[in-house]
């Protein structure tokens, strides 16, 4: 197994700033908008974007949620991989809202489809958009594309694309695990 670094911390920082600015451009003061991070890994990206929007761009009144899609997935009983459900926290009405779903890597699109189904169980938003840091091209199983995109990458089917977020012991990094 070998790891190839795709994005270092500097590049990721630039992308996070750009994505935050793009959201700001479209959603203004975010009064009708809710940002929803997908469990488990999308919430890290959500936290970083929320931090930038608050700290750098002065948007303090943000509605933020976390959504777990485990019970809405289409691979229940079909996949060897067993998903573990994480908490869902949507402490607001989604009816009529503009929703931005946030996830780190867009691959087959099935998690996003599950998220769309899950949102449907909470109400009818006016629009749902998708923000991802990484889009794995040519690997989609469903007609799903991001509205806000960090970078597109090419990776082989067996490869794993990992996003590591900074902590006390490491820096931000995106790499391919072959």
């Amino acid at each position: 197994m070998s790891n190839k670094v795709l994005l270092d911390s500097l590049k990721i920082n630039v992308l996070l700033n750009r994505l935050s600015c793009q959201l700001l451009e479209v959603h203004g003061d975010f009064s009708d908008t809710v940002l929803i991070g997908l469990q488990p890994r999308g919430v890290f990206l959500l936290d970083r974007i929320v931090f930038l929007l608050k700290d750098k761009y002065g948007i303090h009144d943000l509605k933020v949620g976390r959504l777990d899609t485990t019970f809405y997935r289409d691979d229940f009983r079909r996949s060897e991989k067993i998903h573990s459900a994480k908490p869902t926290e949507l402490n607001f009405e989604v009816e009529g809202k503009k929703i931005v779903l946030i996830d780190d890597v867009l691959y087959t699109g099935r998690s996003i489809r599950a998220a769309l189904t899950a949102i449907d169980y909470f109400g009818r938003p006016s629009i749902i958009e998708l923000l991802v840091l990484i889009d794995r091209r040519f690997s989609r199983h469903l007609p799903i594309q991001p509205d806000y995109l960090g970078v597109q990458i090419d990776a082989l089917e067996g490869d794993k694309v990992r996003v590591e977020w900074k902590s006390k012991i490491r820096k931000d990094c995106v790499y391919i695990e072959k």
């Binding site: 485990t70 019970f71 229940f76 009983r77 079909r78 067993i82 573990s84 908490p87 189904t117 909470f122």
Partner: protein, 312 residues
């Protein structure tokens, strides 16, 4: 995520600590789901579950049915009184006939101890024991422990007393297994005639004095006096039972500390517990009922994840 180590839920006796943790974590997620405006997830939309109740039940049957429907499973119900059992059909035949109609999972309540295990050995389907005679009632013990964990956090070292009709109670036996597995200390308390002879082998404290038991415990699980299982007189009168073992405000005031009160239902108000206590702040009886649906959703979901024959 780990899987459950078992393919059927026949009892809590054979569950591992990981199994408990997995069930409780999943139940926490489902508890959040059932408090949403739309209390339903689509996970089990291609699963059919048969609820076979060979014994009367209101709460457990309703709770299982709600859990199944909130997971989007198709549900068929079967009660012994309306069945061919009265025409002489065997249990295995009845169940096999139901399975031939492409049912994926069976929830069974039966008056005979071991009936769920017997079924699991004879038919090819997943079984959940919803109470087999005086043996086990695993989902009740799971929901009791889940409710206690919500109240206390960790159960390690906590003192839990199970009070009342122990000998006829599958709830008591399942609770003892589950509580001990989770590290709690368990005491059973009741009149000698309602305590089992094998209590020593269960490794629990035994007490016949209710006040002593109440002083010792952090939580008391008050069991129903099961008149329907008593073909002999186990105590002289309900009045005497209430006087010695019925939980009332006066007895609780005597011990001068708050204790958490559980009851698996249905309550015989004025026999094992007074209304005043059952409806008091320290009683978590209705939490138990709410948690029952979440626990059953978790158990059904986790067992259903093991049914892999999608293409058949």
């Amino acid at each position: 995520m780990d899987e459950l180590t078992v393919n059927n839920l026949l009892g809590v006796e054979n569950l591992t600590n990981n199994d408990f943790e997995l069930i409780f974590n999943t139940a926490n997620r489902f508890k959040e789901v059932i408090n949403r405006p739309i209390k339903k997830v689509p996970s089990l939309r291609d699963i059919t579950i048969a609820n076979l109740f060979f014994e009367n039940s209101t709460r457990t049957k309703l709770s299982f049915e709600l859990a199944e429907k909130r997971l989007s499973a198709d549900v068929v119900n079967f009660s012994a009184s309306q069945s061919s059992i009265s025409k002489g059909e065997t249990l295995v035949d009845t169940v096999n006939n139901i399975l031939a109609m492409k049912v994926d999972m069976i929830v069974i309540r039966h008056p005979h101890p071991g009936s769920a295990k017997f079924l699991s050995e004879n038919i090819n389907s997943q079984i959940i024991n919803a109470g087999d005679g005086t043996h086990e009632h695993p989902t009740q013990a799971l929901l009791d422990c889940f409710s206690l964990k919500e109240k206390f956090g960790d159960l390690k070292g906590k003192h839990i007393a199970i009070i009342g009709d122990i000998i006829h109670s599958r709830v008591a036996l399942s609770n003892i297994f589950a509580l001990k597995a989770l590290g709690a200390e368990v005491m059973i308390c009741g009149p000698k005639s309602l305590l089992p002879k094998y209590s020593r082998s269960l490794n629990v404290k035994v007490e016949t004095d209710l006040i002593k038991a109440l002083r010792w415990c952090d939580a008391a699980n008050i069991l129903r006096v099961q008149n329907e299982r008593m073909n002999l007189n186990f105590f002289p009168s309900t009045r005497e039972y209430f006087k010695l073992y019925g939980l009332n405000k006066e007895k609780l005031e005597l011990i001068k500390k708050p204790i958490t009160i559980l009851h698996p239902g249905p309550i015989n108000r004025g026999v094992e517990i007074t209304s005043e206590v059952a409806d008091s702040e320290n009683a978590i009886i209705l939490d138990q009922v709410e948690n029952g649906v979440a626990i059953r959703m978790a158990v059904i979901y986790l067992l259903a994840s093991k049914i892999k024959n999608i293409t058949n």
